[in-house]
């Protein structure tokens, strides 16, 4: 199962990773190899097997609707690359919201 360079570029954008030309080349090879390797799972008949997302069989874990102390604004912003004392600052977001 081979990935094209274009596939890898698309995945790069979806992953928000800027990739150099050299990286695109090497990743195309590496990812194709790894995907080829993991594709051996196709050999196994899993038609009647349900996916196992959680190794535990537990359910219904909840907490009470009780207020707990929050961080201070200073703590919340302490590692922010840019902030104005109240909010995180990021490069201008244009117009609409993120989720389409």
């Amino acid at each position: 199962m081979s990935l094209s360079r274009q596939d890898v570029a698309k995945v790069g954008l979806l992953s928000r990773l800027a990739l150099s030309e050299a990286e695109l080349d090497s990743l195309t090879g590496e990812l194709s190899k790894i995907v080829g390797f993991v594709s051996q799972l196709e050999e196994i008949d899993t038609a009647s097997v349900a996916p196992l997302a959680h190794p535990l069989d537990s359910q219904n874990v909840f907490r009470d609707d009780v207020v707990k102390p929050s961080l201070t604004t200073a703590q919340a912003l302490q590692s922010a690359p840019r902030h104005d004392g109240e909010c995180f600052l990021v490069p201008a977001v244009l117009g609409e919201s993120g989720a389409a």
């Binding site: 359910q59 874990v61 707990k68 929050s70 912003l77 995180f88 201008a92 977001v93 993120g98």
Partner: protein, 500 residues
């Protein structure tokens, strides 16, 4: 490029709504941060809702209960087994880089909510595809005017519990859509699930709309329905905006259909933003990649099971929804659909007030009139809740009873009501202080004789056959003694004149 000649009505507007409702819990969905509106930025955050490394979510039980309550009131089926999924995308108001939501196994589905116009203009039962529970994102604020290159991010709202309610495309007009939203809001407020305040963002609406256009078959082809591409409208900030936006968009799609004839499926679903000041929708920029959210089961949360006993308990705790309450009031108190609608729209507490009043009065119509004309009017003027309203049902019932007994007329009764409200004094004290006393028959006779003596022309008119002239005496009578009953004055004067 012209469209084929339309049959009957040119088109049907087909509308579906997607509503996000913030649940009225003390804390967020996955952490103990408070959800109060209006706090200073980034003062209600913790490692979990900030998405700090190593942070983990734990589900708020009360949020789940409120969600189940909402879904039951919307006649949905509650899934016996439900789970959460990650919806992955990058945006600065989404600190984890994914939203914990529900994808393939939402906790409820297949419901409906009916909206009936009290004046009979429409009735629509709108299907609900699903209701699911997810976390809200934070707020990004961009100050275009300030001209800076930065967007400010406040994560106070991140993690607030949201119910997403997705309707079937069953609505057929912008008016219906607005009315349905009002009904939905009323229902959720009645349930105590949300305050549904669009100004504060606790209710948000996106709309999907397209047109179904009957196209007459040509050259032997059958008649068919052509469908315009579905447009999603965002950025509507009030129910009125929703109505206006849908009306605009329907008209715009009709124009576009006539110009281009483009049908659904020929282009991807478009998103347009409503510009309220301009009164138009504008296309929004297409994203670089179409949304591939790479949903997968949330490994940090375990699934939730809901038993029949859980559902029964939730139902028992719910109370009557507005639709049921309206019908009950109409049949029990013999009031009109319109009146029932007005009362129910004001909430459970006001309905309780009305029923208390009606019970004391022994009758619904009079009680309903007093509710609408006096109680509601003054309540709206004063502000505050019906629970805080100083005039209680027993006071109103007292006034109504005295009017029925003839102590004073309705207009006097209104004055007494106003004075009781203003002074806080008991009805009896106000009646006495206003010098309201029953007018004895002797006093009435004396008064009327005085009036007749002072108004020879009116006497002459009445004797000449114009009985209605006697009405001119009533104002004078009230000036002399405000307690007189106008009807009795008129009758007494007429009797006296006849006896002359």
């Amino acid at each position: 490029m012209t469209a084929a000649a339309p049959a009957a009505a040119p088109y049907t507007t087909v509308i579906g709504l997607e509503v996000h409702v913030q649940l009225q819990t003390q804390t967020k969905l996955f952490c103990g941060c408070p959800t109060t509106f209006g706090a200073p930025p980034n003062t209600q955050v913790c490692p979990t809702c900030l998405g700090l490394p190593g942070s983990l979510p734990v589900m708020n039980r009360h949020a789940f209960d409120l969600a189940v309550r909402s879904a039951l009131a919307l006649n949905c089926t509650i899934a016996p087994f439900t789970k959460w999924d990650r919806k992955n995308y990058f945006y600065p108001d989404l600190p984890k880089g994914y939203q914990i939501s529900q994808y393939d196994l939402p906790f409820s589905s297949d419901g409906w909510l009916e909206v009936v116009d009290p004046k009979g203009a429409f009735a629509r039962k709108v299907g609900i595809i699903r209701v699911h529970l997810e976390e809200d994102a934070g707020k990004s604020m961009h100050d275009e005017a300030a001209g800076t290159a930065d967007t400010r991010i406040d994560l106070n709202r991140a993690g607030t519990p949201l119910c997403e309610i997705v309707s079937q495309p069953d609505l057929r007009s912008p008016q219906e859509a607005r009315a349905w939203l009002n009904e939905l809001k009323l229902l959720l407020v009645y349930l105590g699930v949300s305050d549904c305040n669009m100004q504060e963002g606790s209710l948000r609406v996106d709309a999907n709309v397209n047109l179904h256009i009957p196209v007459a078959g040509q050259g032997g082809a059958a008649d068919r329905i052509a469908k315009t591409p579905i447009v999603e409208i965002k950025n509507m900030n009030s129910f009125r905006s929703v109505e206006r936006a849908l009306a605009y968009e329907a008209a715009r799609q009709w124009e576009e259909w006539q110009a281009t004839g483009t049908e659904m499926g020929k282009m991807p679903k478009q998103t347009r933003g409503w510009d309220d000041p301009a009164g138009i929708t504008r296309p929004q920029r297409q994203k670089e990649e179409s949304s591939d959210y790479r949903y997968f089961p949330e490994p940090d949360l375990v699934p939730v099971t809901v038993s029949e006993a859980d559902i029964a308990a939730a139902r028992a705790a719910m109370g009557e929804p507005p639709a049921v309450l309206r019908t009950a009031l109409e049949s029990k108190w013999k009031i009109s659909a319109y009146d029932a609608d007005v009362l129910v729209n004001q909430g459970r507490d006001l309905v309780a007030y009305f029923e208390d009043l009606a019970t004391r009065v022994g009758e619904g119509k009079v009680a309903s009139n007093w509710m609408q004309q006096d109680v509601l009017r003054t309540l709206n003027e004063r502000g505050g809740t019906i629970a805080e309203f100083p005039v209680r049902p027993e006071h109103v019932a007292d006034i109504i009873a005295r009017i029925a007994a003839g102590e004073f007329d309705t207009s006097r009764g209104r004055e007494i009501f106003a004075e009781v409200l203003a002074s806080g004094k008991p009805v009896a004290d106000v009646v006495a202080a206003m010098g309201i006393a029953a007018v004895s028959d002797d006093e009435l006779v004396t008064l009327c004789k005085e009036l007749l003596a002072a108004n020879p022309k009116i006497v002459a008119d009445v004797q000449g056959g114009k009985e209605q002239a006697a009405a001119g005496l009533i104002g004078q009578a009230k000036k002399k003694n405000p307690n007189v009953n106008p009807g009795k004055v008129r009758q007494m004067c007429l009797d006296l004149i006849r006896g002359m």
